[in-house]
Structure formats: C-alpha cells, structure tokens
C-alpha cells in the first residue's frame, strides 16, 4: 500500500479550501491521524489562512509556518488535497529534492502526488507470481487464474490478494468453540473503499459484537474479516469462499451485495444468463480481446454510457440463484449465512447536500449512469423478494430508506461514507448477536 516511511522526516501541509464540508473535514482528520501513526518525525505546516481549520479539527497540534519548509529538510511531504479541482499549496520558494510527495484526499486516502506509483508504494507485490507480473500501478484489476485481483492502495493494509485482512489466518483454523469467525463478502462497497480500517463496517461489527458479548457476561468473542473486493458479484464471493475461507469453517458468512450483480448483469451478454446463469464484470470482455488479439470485434457494450442488454427477470434470477448456492455451501460447511442486500442512495428518504453534489459529479462521469436509473425497480423487487424469504437477512436497501438530509451516508450512489458503514455494521451485528443469544 501507499504509506509513509516511519523513518522519513515528514511534513504535512494543510491548506484546505474555505468551503470544505464538515464530513470531509472529519475524514481528512481521520486520514491524517491514521497515516502519520508510527511516523517518528512529523511536522504539521499550515498557512495563516488555514489556521482556523487546524485549530478546529486538530486542536492538539501547533502548526508551523510554511517558511519552515525552507530551513528544515524533509524526506516526505504530504499535501492535503480534498478536491480534484483544487490546487496544492505551493510554498513561494523551491523545496530541495529528493523528496517523495503524497496527497491526502477527501476520503483520508494517501496517494502519490506529482509522480507515478513505484515499488516503494507497493506492498506484497513480490508475494506471488501474479503480483510480480502485474504493474506497480495504482488502482486496477490484474490477472489471476480465478477471476481477477484488485489493487487499491493508500486506505490501509491489504493482504497479498488485495483483501483487507491479515495475510496469515492460520490461527483461526483451530479456534476454540467460543471464538466465532464472521466472514463478509461484497463488492467495493463491501471492501469499504471510502473508509479507513477502523471505520470499515466489518470493524464496526467486530467491536459491536465483542462489546455486546462482554456486557452480557458471555465468553463468546468474535473476529470479523472483510473479504469484499471491488466489482465482485456473488459468483466471485463463491470463488473467494472456496479459495480462501472454506478451510476456516466460518461460523457466520455475510453476503453484503446486490448492486454489482444487478448493474453488471444488465450490461452483460444476456446469453450467459440463458446458458450459464452467471454475471460478470463486462470490462473483462476487453481482457479477452487483448489475450486473443480480437480488438476489432465488438464487445457487448459498444460505447458509453452503457446500455441495458439483459432483461430484469434474468438479472434478478441470477443474483438470487447464486446467492442460494453460496448459502448452501456455507451451511453444508457448518456455518450460518446472512442474506444481506446492500444499501444504495436511490432509496434514501432524502439526500444530504453533499450526497446531492457528489451524485451530480457521479452522473456526469459514470458509464453506468443509465443502467443505475433503470435498475431502481430491480432493487425494489430484490428487496421485496428478500422480504418474502424465510432466511437470515438484513435488508440494507430498506433500512437506509429511513435516513434523511441530515445524514451523510453515501459518497456516491452506492459507496458508503464512514457514517454509513457505522450503521451497516451495527445492523449486521444485530442479526448475528440475536443468533448468538446476545440480545
């Protein structure tokens, strides 16, 4: 992952725009505290204009004047850069190279600034052959024999397969009966791409369940692992369960999904519903073109924005069928399966002003925008169908409908803010606590 070297003499320059929203300010503060943890020498720099912000959000820190950048040497400099269209603070003099530059964005994520990703940003990239053969790039999908792997550096540690879990899980295999293992699946929203490790809904679940057990005087303890990954559909969760989790015999498995199966499902070649009943990420058709030199042949999607190709019943049918398959595997392996339907902002009672402005930006740039509009009735139908099913469930789509304009829960139509993850984690904890006799 992109991270600050603990030994590097580091300066963090705060120069936030005057109109920076409250939730963004809070997340920048969280990101700052997370990324400088362990850095031995860190100097906070703020111009006079930025002092009111630092006094409000970092009251325990006394910032230095930017002039210190001229007199003192630094190995790393971090620019707080909340918006893509805002400018870095550039001190009015040369900074002596060599210095590694970073940016801290609105989501508390640390990124290379003014340079490409390099080997120092990469973590685990020599762990196995498919990591070594991929590029040291920022966020992207890369080849793996079973589906694909995904890189998303800068928001916390990931293991060698890109999941937000420790590399060594062997201790969990022979855990005692009081130690309950919960494994959660999903796409990028399940990965919690806009939250730091302690803010992930899985971290919220773990804290909440252990607190409830402690308060109830129970000897139960819980470990909750996040095996969500960008763009995963339920079929990817099935593969992940088989590859990485089956031998751990998780006590609970949570499928926090829905969005990718429906949106990718609408975009894909409909024949693969008829003759295979599976959804896939339509961009992988481009991989086939590269592998086989068939770039002149058309993909299912011929341009952007993407257009719907498959009908609603086939798309929904695939989602529920594959989820039932995952449930069967989990139960046969001795676990409980929680049917989650992930929330999205299309059903929120009223949007927060920041959700509205983020949504407008999303609509301008996103290739799925038409599909998302068309998918609203499908979310409704999925929620209704889940409601009728006699299974362990948590309908996030329905649960989040009650929140209004005062709650900033979505960074875009599907990805949650830290406050959204907090609610989601507690909702799943409710289901598991009840099943564990903790309510």
């Amino acid at each position: 992952m992109t991270h600050l070297n603990a030994k590097a003499r580091t300066a963090v320059i705060f120069n936030p725009p005057a109109d920076i929203p409250e939730p963004t300010s809070r997340q920048i503060r969280e990101g700052f505290r997370f990324h400088i943890k362990g850095v031995e020498s860190c100097t906070v720099v703020a111009s006079v204009e930025a002092r009111s912000w630092t006094e409000k959000y970092l009251p325990d820190i006394t910032p230095e004047d930017p002039i210190i950048l001229r007199s003192k040497s630094f190995d790393s400099i971090v620019f707080v850069h909340p918006f893509k269209d805002s400018n870095f603070y550039i001190p009015p003099f040369d900074i002596k190279p060599p210095i590694r530059f970073y940016a801290l964005d609105a989501n508390g994520r640390l990124l290379p600034a003014g340079r490409e990703y390099d080997d120092q940003d990469a973590e685990n990239m020599n762990a196995h052959i498919f990591n070594r053969l991929s590029k040291p790039a920022g966020e992207e999908m890369y080849y793996f024999p079973y589906g694909y792997l995904f890189k998303y550096p800068g928001i916390g540690p990931v293991n060698q397969f890109g999941f937000r879990v420790p590399d060594d899980l062997s201790d969990l295999k022979n855990r005692d009966s009081e130690h309950k293992l919960v494994i959660c699946y999903g796409g990028s929203s399940g990965f919690s791409m806009f939250t730091l490790p302690h803010q992930m809904y899985t971290s919220v679940m773990e804290r909440s369940l252990n607190k409830r057990a402690s308060e109830a005087g129970s000897s139960l303890r819980f470990t909750v692992l996040n095996f969500g990954q960008h763009a995963h559909v339920v079929m990817n969760s099935v593969i992940t369960y088989v590859l990485f989790n089956f031998h751990l015999k998780p006590d609970f498995v949570v499928g926090n999904d829905g969005w990718n199966d429906l949106i990718y499902g609408m975009a894909q070649d409909p024949r693969l519903f008829k003759h295979g009943n599976f959804a896939y990420q339509n961009n992988l058709e481009g991989w086939s073109q590269i592998l086989h030199g068939t770039g002149k042949l058309q993909q299912t999607q011929t341009g952007t924005p993407y257009r719907a190709q498959a009908a609603a019943p086939a798309v929904l049918g695939q989602y529920f069928t594959r989820k039932r398959q995952l449930e069967s595997m989990v139960r046969a392996n001795g676990g409980h399966f929680v049917w989650g339907l992930q929330p999205n902002s299309t059903n929120k009672r009223q949007l927060h002003p920041l959700e509205i402005s983020n949504g407008e930006t999303f609509d301008k740039n996103n290739v799925h925008v038409d599909l998302i509009r068309m998918a609203v009735p499908l979310f409704e139908r999925a929620s209704e169908q889940l409601g009728r099913m006699d299974v362990l469930k948590m309908d996030g789509y329905k649960e989040f409908a009650k929140y209004g304009e005062e709650d900033y829960l979505f960074v875009d139509p599907v990805h949650l803010s830290p406050d959204g993850d907090e609610i989601l984690g507690e909702k799943y904890a409710d289901v598991i606590a009840k099943l564990s006799g903790l309510n």
């Binding site: 992207e140 999908m141 961009n283 481009g286 011929t302 498959a310 996103n366 799925h368 009735p377 139908r381």
Partner: protein, 126 residues
C-alpha cells in the same frame, strides 16, 4: 388486474422506470425471436440492441421517415418468417408490439455513435 398494473404497483416506481423495464422485456423478446428464427443478421446478441447492421445517423425529416420505413419492413419480414414457421405466439407478439419495436429501433439508429469504452482494467463503478 393486468400485468402492467401488477408490475407497476410492485415496484412503486415512476412511469419512466416502468417504460425502461418494458423496453428491456421487449429487447429480450426481440433477441429471442431473432435467435429462434436464425435471423442473426438482425440481431446477433453481441451488439447494441437493435438494428446493428445499419450505421447510426443523426436523422431528421425525410431521412427519419426512410429509416422508419426500413424498420417497419424489417419487422414485417420477421413476422412473415415467424408465420411461415408456424410460430404463432411469436408472430402474434410481434404484431402486437410492432410499433414499440419500430420506435426503439429507429431511436437506436438515430442516436449518435457512443463514445469509447474505458480501459478494461479500470473499476468504472465509482
């Protein structure tokens, strides 16, 4: 209660969302019929939904009427193929939805060419 009412109430969605839903159903049916009849030159399932053999044009006036006539002829041919093969339900459905099919096909042909696809390695959902 007819089918339309039932779907509309169950979704609780707007009429445009319902129209989109119906458009999907018609698209899938059209694709199925083309496949059944072996008329893949009309729709081979791997291309944009309708009339892929014709180049898209930004049309107006007489040109639009011409395209509409071509699409009507295309659907008529499909109906007669279905009738000759004694696929009575298919031919009946096509006759009932003829105007919808023509409308969607004309719109498809008169929409400007879409822009290029994003990199296949990029996560495009954010």
């Amino acid at each position: 209660m007819n089918k339309q009412d039932k779907i509309d109430r169950s979704t609780g969605s707007s009429s445009s969302a319902f129209a989109n839903y119906m458009r999907l159903r018609i698209q899938e049916f059209y694709w199925t019929v083309c496949t059944l009849l072996g008329l893949k030159h009309l729709h081979d399932g791997s291309k944009a939904a309708f009339a892929p053999t014709a180049k898209r044009v930004v049309a107006g006036g007489a040109e639009l009427s011409q395209i509409k006539a071509e699409e009507e002829e295309r659907i008529n041919r499909l109906i007669s193929e279905a009738t000759s093969l004694q696929l009575s339900r298919a031919s009946e459905y096509l006759r009932d939805h003829k105007q919808d099919l023509i409308l969607v096909a004309v719109r498809e042909r008169t929409t400007p060419e879409p822009s290029k696809l994003p990199s296949p390695f990029v996560y495009a959902m954010q």
